[in-house]
Amino acid sequence: MSLLGVLLRQCVRRDRVQLALWIVGTAALALMATTAVTTTFGDLAEREGILRLTTVAPAILMFRGTPNGAEVGPFAFFLMCAILGVLAGLMSTFLAVRHTRGDEEAGRAELVASTPASRLLPTTATVIHGVLVNAVLGLAIAVAFLVSGLEPRGAFVAGAAIAACGVAFLSTGLVFAQLFRSSRAANAAGVAAVIAAYFVRGIGDAAGEPSDDGLHRTPLWISWLSPIGWAQRTGAFAEDDLAPLLVSLGFAAVLVALVYAFQSARDSGASVLPGLRGRDRAGPLLSGSLGLALKLSTGAVLSWAAGAAVMGALATSLTPLVDEIGSDVPEVALRLQQLAGAGASLEEALTTTFFSVIGILASACALQLIMRARQEEGHGTAETVLATPVPRQRWIAEHGAVALLGVVVVIGVAMLGAFAGARSADDSAGMSLDAAQAAVAQLPAVLVYLGLGLLLFVLVPRVMIGVAWAALTLGAFFGVFGELLGLPDWVHDLSPFAHSPVPIGDDVDWTGGIWMLAIAAVAIGVAIVAMRRRELVAAG
C-alpha cells in the first residue's frame, strides 16, 4: 500500500501547478458565468425569452445545453454544463495519457516498472489520482455555484455531474493510452473524443423535443451516448437526479477493466494497435526547409480551418433564424449590435460577430505555426536544418510564410463556409459579400499577431510560447468583450481586434486595418533582420 502511496504522491507532485490552475480556472469560470446570469439576465422574463428563442433557433443549443426551466440555477446549468464538461474531460484525458503513455514513451515507466511497483501499479495510481482530482474539481465547482448564491443541493449535484463526466473521460484517455504507441496520438484521440461528446449531446439538445411552454426540452436519445449528456441529465437545480451519473461511473469501470486487460497482456512500451510504418523515402515536398515547415504545419492548419469552416457556416446560416426572432427578444438583438457597432442590421451584426471569433481562431493558428519554429529549435531539429546550407533568416522567414499561408487558408475556409451557409438566405449574394468583407477585415489584426509571434521568437525565445498565448487571450478578451464588460476605452484599444475594420453600413472605415498592416509589416521585417544576430537557443 505504501508503494501505491509513493506513486500517488509522485503523480500529485508532478501535476500540482498544472492541475491547480486548471481546477481554479474551471471553478472561476463557473462562478463568473453564474454571476453574469444574475447581472445580465436579471429577471425571469428575460431568461424565459432566451429559452423560448431556442425553440425557434435550436441550433443555438449546440453551444449551450438542455433548457430546463428559467430559474437562475437551472439556467446557469443550461449555460455552463457542457463547457464545464469539456474542461473536465480535457483535463482528465490529458492527465490519463501523461501518466501512462507519456511516461512509457519517455522511458520513465520502464524505470518504475523495474521496481516492485511493476507494470500495473502505476496505472492504478493514475486511476486513483484522476478520480481524486475530479472529486476536487467537482467540489470546487459546487463551491463556485454556492458562492454565487445558488442552492446547495443543486450546486452539489452540478459538481458531481462534472466530476463524473471527468472520470468517464479519464477512463477514455487511459484506453487510448493503451491503444496508441505515442502520447501525441493518444492525446489527439482523447481531444477528439471530448469534442465528439460535446457535439453528440449538442445534436441531442438541438434535435430534442421542446415542452409546450418552451422552457424545457427532452433531448434526443443520442445524448445518452455522451458523457456530457449524462451530466446534463442530472437536471441540477431542478430534478437533482444523481442516477444518470451511475452510467458515467459504470462506463468508467468497464473501460478501466479493459485497460487492465490490455496492459496485463502487452509488453511495456508496446501498444495494442501497432505503430504504423511509414515511407521509406521522402516525398517531393520534403526537398527543402520550406517544404519541411509546410509538412510540419499541415495538421495544425487543417484543425484550425475545420473550426473556422464551422464558425463561418454558422455566421450566415444562423442569421435568418435570429432575424426571425429578433423582434421577440430585443435584448439579444441589442447585445449583438453592441458587439458589431452602431448602424448595423441584425444579419450584419451576427456575421461580424462570428467573424471576429474567426479572427481570433486565425490568430491562434498564426501563433501556433510560429511556435512550431520555437519547438523545432527547442527540440533540436532546427539545429539539424541550420547545419545545412539554409540561412537562419530564410529559415524563420519560411516559417513566417507558412504561418501567413495558414492564416489565409483558415480565413478563406471560413469565408467558403459562410458562402455555403448563406445559400438558403433571401439575399444570398448580399450576405456573401458581407461575409467576404468581414473575413478580409480580420486579416490585419491576425497579421499583427503573426508579426508579434515572430518578434517574440527572435527576441525572447525562451518565454515566447507563454507570452504569445497570453497576448492573444488578453487581446481577444479586451477586444471582443471589452465594451460589453464596460472596460475603459484605453484597455479596449490595446487589443488589435478592437481596430479591425467593421464592414457594416455605407462608409466602412479601413484606416485601423491599414495601420495594423503597416505595424505587422514592420514587426515581421524587424524580426527577420534581427534573426541575423540571433543564436540558436536550446530548450528551457
Partner: protein, 310 residues
Amino acid sequence: MNSVISCRGLEKRFGRTAALDGLDLEVGPGEIHGFLGPNGAGKSTTLRIVLGLARASGGTVTLFGRDPWSEAAALHRRLAYVPGDVTLWPSLTGGEAIDLIARLRGGTADRRAYAERRARLIDAFQFDARVRGRAYSKGNRQKVALIAAFSTPAELYLLDEPTSGLDPLMEVVFNREIDRVTKEGATVLLSSHLLAEVEELCDRVSIIRSGRLVESGTLTELRHLTRSSVAFVHVPGQEARIAAIDGVHDLVVDSGRVRFTADSDRIAGVLPELGLLEVQGLTVAPPSLEDLFLRHYGDDPALMGVKARS
C-alpha cells in the same frame, strides 16, 4: 594558414559561466582530428561555434578560412554534421529524415551515387528506415544522422560523439566509413570521450578541459608526455631501492603489489634495475590516452567527479 578549422583564443560565455575560455584549435586538411575532453569541457559548444549556430563571445574562428557566423549557409555546403544528441521529427520516418537532410545539404545532386551510398549504408547499419522518428532509440537516431552524413560528399565531417549510441558491430561500419571519406580527401573532426575510438582512428588529437586546450599533437608526440605503468609483486624492504631508480615516479604499494609510473623514454633503463631485484609478476602497460586523461584531469578531484558521473 591552410587550416580547415582555426580557433584562436575562442571564448564563449553563458551569463557568468565561461564555456570556452580562450580555446585554440587547429585542424589541417585531410586530418582525422580527435577532439577529446570530458563532458562539459566545451566540445559541443566549440562545434556549434564552428558551425555558426552559436556566436563566439571573444577570439577568432575561421572555417575554410572564412567566418562561420556570417557565412554559415555557404560554408555548410562543404560539410556534414552529426550532432551529439540527434533529435528527429516525430512524424517523419527515418528514411524521410535521411532524404531531407541530404537534400538540404545539396548532396543528392548526383542521384545515382546518392541512392547507391544510401542503400549501402542503410544495409550496413542494419537500419529500418520506415519507422517514425519518435519510435527510434538513441542509437537508431544516431544512425539517421550518420547515414545522412556519409551518403553525401563533403570536404569536412564534423562528428560530435558519433558512436556513443552504437554497438561495437556498428562501430566497425562507422570506422570503415571514416576510412573511406578520408581516402577521398575529406577532413574529419571527431569529438569524443572514448579514448579507444580516438586512438584507433585519429592522426592528431586536441585535448580540452574547462574550455581550454591543454594538449595538441600527433599521438606519437603526445605519448612522449605519458608514462608507462609498471607493477610487480611486493617484497618488503625493496621500496627504497626502487624509489632510487632514475625515472620512477608515483611509487605506491597497494594490495601486495608495487606500482609506479615511468617516463616512456626511460623505461629501457628502468628494466635492468628491476631485473637485479628479481621482481615477480612484472607487468608494463603502454601509455594510453587514458593516462593522458588521468594526467590532465586526475589531479583535480572535482573534475574526477565530473568524469566519474559522465
